[in-house]
Point group: C2
């Protein structure tokens, strides 16, 4: 194996952080515009930071409490990895740090983007996109950097013992998996809290401002307008970043753990299999940085040209990773290079197809969204029905894509020999890594969206001219498209990551069984196999993880139910928090008539505080459900029930998330389609119906849908770290 | 074994049909009221029959085509039971016959109920309820009668061969299972077609009549009013009847097949295990007839007293079956009597809890529906969001109940020995039979609902006095409660039946493997077992039906997706059909101004024809999807993929159905709560929002939700009858 392969990941991680810093410095140097623009930007920036600190405070309490629980389980009851209390806190800390940097950048960047838009579209795009890239690169840099750090540390500290080198490597990889728990829990708070914040503000601002008082969107007279802009940052920047930080870290760690297990017969091969996903991730970072420089446009570019500009960056990175990863897999000396490479491509292509499918179902350029818009002529009811129908039908392509991608990755990596289950599942892990390899640049295009959106808001509130707003509108529309595809990508990667984590769970169970002295598995018909060489199939037989075992079936049913109940909770949370916001905005209008006349300033801070409070109050219960469900299921139904739960949650959660996100996205764009002059245009009967559909879709697409990504990953990670407790104490 | 036990089922089946005839004759003798009442009743009755014949014509084509396919598969390719072409047509015919009788009775009964309501509440209740009992008893009578007939015929015609008596019994039970296919497919057409018909008419009538023209519900000036009343019959009587006919037949057949497999070591025990579910069903019929006579009330009874009157009949039947079934299980000489009895009770109690939970989440007497109503003050958007939140949360209790019921039935019947999987799964089948044992009377209370609803419509359209309408309103309100609990019961029984069918699938696969000469299963680690004595667990190992096999996982994902895509299709179908109705009603109002003045009669037939056409056009594709999905999955992914598909479809479909039904029911009652004077009452802002919510909920609760019951059962039955094709031709 070539020495250089080892160095790619650390170099790439450092490069990501260096370039992120560079892009940040470049952005900070730009003109901030007029005093009014800076004042508005300051409101948003302070509001976002205030929210973030508040969220971090609550998280600190939850994390501290859980760390104590983990410490007791680890040091008192010896049913927990002794690393967990530390890795857990680190995972949470670095995920939060990435969110902090990303959001700080985004809030600074939107004022400067608006300022640049006064004179130049290309400059505005460059500022907004490279600021988005700060988020993308910080996420992948901190993620991969941490993985490398923990691997090296585990390699140094975990002794060889008398179970041999291959066994030690399995222990190292399953130990580093514990880092995912903190990242996952922080992602849950960021997604759910951010999602509730942003939609409470959005719904509240719209219902009183647009519907009741008839003032336009982003009007500075609306007290909730700053909270709405803050929400874009805490939901779509910090929330999305934490979500993908977790997918990124989880997929790499899971793939490495599966690699260690798949090649236990040969220490040299095992090492390569563990390194491969980390290497691919490193290559992806370097190519993402390259891709960022390819995103540029010209003055007066239309929507298609702008989309092409982004596409150039993203697609070039993806195309290059296809070529480069093959070369480096050869350099690494992997066995079955073509199969592993096939798995990388299966993941990459799946991500592209899901993104395209999302675009088709939610863009006003295609028939599904246009049909929803035409149903607005029958009123709000038929529009809502149509949107739900489209959302449900839109689940077909993503599910079939992930299904085909998973099967192909499995078949490629197993050399088309289904009995090689370990190798095949390693391929599924590699596919997840492949899909996320160019996350540096795909996440940049996601984080770009809210920056452009806020730049538009700033331009509107600062009263900049129509030509400036035309530029920010163009950038904003581009952001809406990337937001939709970004959501599809986040869901798809969460599903693949959860699949990979599922297989890792069984590897962790193996370690736990060995720890408690179960050295032999009895498989029925008098067959026994040693625990440390048993195949994954043997574990399935040992625990009866088959689909006629009622324990498994009940687990699957509960998993499906948890996905729905969790969504119900988050949807209701938005409703409750939005109602508080509605009351506050009505109160301000009532008590100070000068606000609507524009003579006195509304109390923006109060609205930010209300959204913050609502989000904080509502985010804890859904988050805890994701933590508690696998623990309780494990204690009652054992390993078989837990696997059932994870599969039920994964399948229903994935499909439900696609449905919710696409329904919401399609309603949003059906409204925009009508506002563009179709079916009577603005303020028509159809438009009023479309506003209702858009509002219904808000919590669908920005709270419940994205939160489900985290639910399915967090339940898997909790199952993994609680494997010791399940194996030792389960009832059935 | 006592001789009498054998005679219970045929006697009960005949008794059911005799009493059904008696109740029908009794109803026909009643006064039909004024000429106007008879005319209106005639419109509804003719419309319903016209729809039914149209549906049967299309079904005839589809059934004939499929029968040919089955005949070719059976006689040409020898990969299909030679019985199927005949049993398939019979299953469809008798299911349709039950629907025909039930609907003929219901349409005749509503005029007479309205006529009786002119003088007496008790008389009106008696007529309506006993007419509902005609449906209930015809369904169970024809269902059980057919089962007995096919068992006897199979017993006579299937030779002993050289594989022994116990093997022959497995063959007999798996052969009779094919009867379920026709019943299931006819149920699909009845539920989907009826569901689209009724909601297209309802939504169309409401949008133009109530919302646009401001005329009250059931106003004779509304051209769609007759179609709306017809819809109640074709959807809630014929559709619900076909749904439960299938659950009833499917659960009994599945339990018998599982019994034959579970006791293959002992022919005497095996016979008892096959007979037990049939016997319990027979006892349930006799007790249901008894229960019907307990339903009576007094003049001036309030809602609670009316509910108690119904409850007396249903609960007495349920309580008696608990006692009587224990006695007869002893008489039958079943082994593990207490365990089997425990399974019966687990099923019965689960049904009751699900019904109660449905009532809690959808009745305006409890907080969930009231909270939805209070959200109407924020407008349609917050109301819709709240209803979706409540519906999603309401999935928890039914899922946990079915989960607990399944596990307990399994543990009881297996004597708390999880390795006795065959016995345990037989217990799950028995639980499904237990839940459905008193179907004769529970279905009576379902079919009662639309009769009372139509009686109210007739009273309104005939201009009867307010005291008459007070009586029909009381009966109608009672019907709304029974409709909600009936829906919960239909979903719960579908889930349990599908679980039992899942295990039967593997038994059918065993028969198919033996047929193609696979006499030995290789299980890995050098273990082999003979196919005809292999346990269900062995089959799971042989086919790798475990949750790490990507084939299974992809199957689960596809199953979950099919449930959503199928719902999306049916929801959109209602939207499209409703739009045609809206246009027709608008056209009639526009072209004849006399209609709204009340001087000329609208063209009712035209609206019925439009709903009929819409339903016919839209019902075929969703129905075919349910047929095609298991076949294609089987050909591509094999047995493991099919089982994954069934479990994915079952889990997501069950949860999704509960969500859709309960959201829809809760919106409906939130509207009624507001109409009762809360939050501003009728014609307030909140009421307008609630009407939108109710309209969104219409296809949820009456089309997509109930159709999912059939989807999960039909996919299982198709998998069973296509097992030969899957085993012989699958790719993976």
């Amino acid at each position: 194996m070539n020495e250089i392969v080892f160095w790619i990941a650390p170099i790439a991680a450092i490069a990501a952080l260096v370039y992120a810093r560079g892009f940040y410095k470049e952005m900070i140097r730009q003109d901030q515009g007029t005093a009014l623009m800076q004042e508005i930007g300051g409101h948003v920036s302070r509001g976002a930071m205030a929210y973030l600190w508040q969220q971090y405070k609550i998280m600190l309490v939850v994390f501290a409490a859980l760390a104590v629980v983990f410490a007791v389980l680890a040091y008192q009851f010896h049913v927990q990895s002794t690393w967990l209390p530390v890795t857990f806190l680190c995972g949470g800390f670095f995920s939060a740090l990435a969110g902090y940097f990303g959001m700080k950048t985004a809030t600074q960047a939107s004022t400067r983007t608006a300022a640049a838009a006064r004179t130049s579209l290309p400059d505005a795009l460059r500022i907004a996109f490279r600021s988005g890239a700060v988020m993308g690169l910080v996420v992948v840099g901190l993620g991969l950097g941490n993985i490398v750090f923990w691997f090296i540390l585990a390699n140094l500290l975990i002794p060889a013992g008398d179970t041999g080198e291959t066994h030690r490597m399995v222990l190292i990889t399953t130990t580093t998996l514990t880092f995912g728990m903190g990242a996952s829990l922080q992602a849950m708070f960021a997604r759910v809290g951010g999602g509730i914040f942003t939609k409470a503000a959005d719904v509240g601002a719209d219902l009183v401002g647009k519907v009741e008082s008839g003032i336009p969107e982003d009007d500075p007279r609306n007290p909730a307008v700053i909270a709405d802009n803050v929400g874009d940052n805490v939901g779509d920047v910090a929330g999305m970043g934490a979500d993908l930080f977790e997918s990124y870290v989880g997929s790499i760690l899971a793939a490495s753990a599966l690699g260690a297990a798949a090649f236990m017969h040969d220490p040299a091969l095992q090492m390569k299999a563990v390194v491969a996903p980390i290497m691919i991730a490193g290559l992806g970072i370097l190519l993402s940085i390259l891709g960022v420089y390819l995103v540029k446009t010209e003055e007066g570019a239309n929507q298609k040209q702008l989309l092409d500009a982004l596409g150039r960056g993203i697609n070039s990175s993806a195309a290059m990773i296809v070529v480069v990863s093959l070369a480096f897999l050869f350099l690494l000396g992997m066995p079955n290079v073509w199969g592993i490479w096939g798995a990388v491509i299966a993941g990459l292509v799946s991500g592209v197809i899901i993104g395209r499918s999302t675009e088709y179902y939610t863009s006003p350029s295609y028939s599904p969204t246009r049909q929803i818009a035409s149903q607005a002529e029958g009123g709000a009811a038929t529009l809502v029905i149509a949107g739900i129908g489209v959302g449900m039908l839109s689940t077909a392509i993503p599910v079939l894509t992930v299904g085909a991608g998973t099967l192909l990755a499995f078949l490629f990596a197993s050399g088309f020999d289904p009995s090689q289950m370990n190798q095949g599942l390693y391929g599924v892990g590699i596919a997840a890594v492949g899909m996320l390899s160019t996350l540096g640049i795909t996440l940049a295009s996601d984080a770009y969206g809210p920056i452009a959106d806020n730049a538009g808001g700033n331009a509107e509130m600062s009263g900049l001219g129509p030509d400036v707003r035309a530029r920010t509108d163009a950038l904003d529309a581009l952001g809406n498209t990337t937001a939709a595809t970004g959501k599809g990508f986040a869901i798809g990667s969460a599903a693949l990551t959860a699949l990979a984590l599922l297989a890792s769970y069984v590897e962790v169970v193996r370690m736990e069984l060995i720890k408690i002295g179960t050295t032999v598995l009895t498989l029925g018909h008098g067959t026994t196999v040693p625990t440390d060489t048993a195949t994954l199939t043997d574990f399935m037989t040992y625990y009866s993880v088959n689909l006629l075992n009622p324990t498994v079936l009940v687990g699957v049913l509960i998993g499906a139910m948890v996905a729905f109940a969790f969504s119900g909770m988050t949807v209701q949370a938005v409703g409750r928090a939005a109602l508080l916001m509605v009351e506050e905005v009505r109160r301000q209008f009532r008590e100070d008539a000068g606000i609507l006349k524009g003579t006195s300033q509304p109390d923006y801070e109060r609205c930010v505080a209300i959204s913050t409070l609502g989000a904080q109050r509502e985010m804890v219960v859904p988050a805890l459900i994701a933590v508690i469900a696998p623990v309780v299921t494990g204690l009652l139904l054992g390993v078989a029930g837990v696997i059932g739960l994870l599969v039920g949650g994964l399948s229903s959660g994935f499909v439900l998330a696609v449905f919710l996100s696409n329904s919401g996205g399609a309603w949003d764009n059906a409204k925009k389609h009508i506002e563009a002059g179709h079916h009577g245009g603005k303020n028509s009967r159809a438009h009023r119906a479309a506003v209702i559909g858009d509002t219904v879709g808000d919590p669908f697409k920005d709270t419940s849908g994205p939160s489900l990504n985290i639910l399915i990953k967090l339940m898997s990670i909790v199952a993994i770290i609680m494997a010791g407790v399940t194996v030792t104490y389960s009832l059935l």
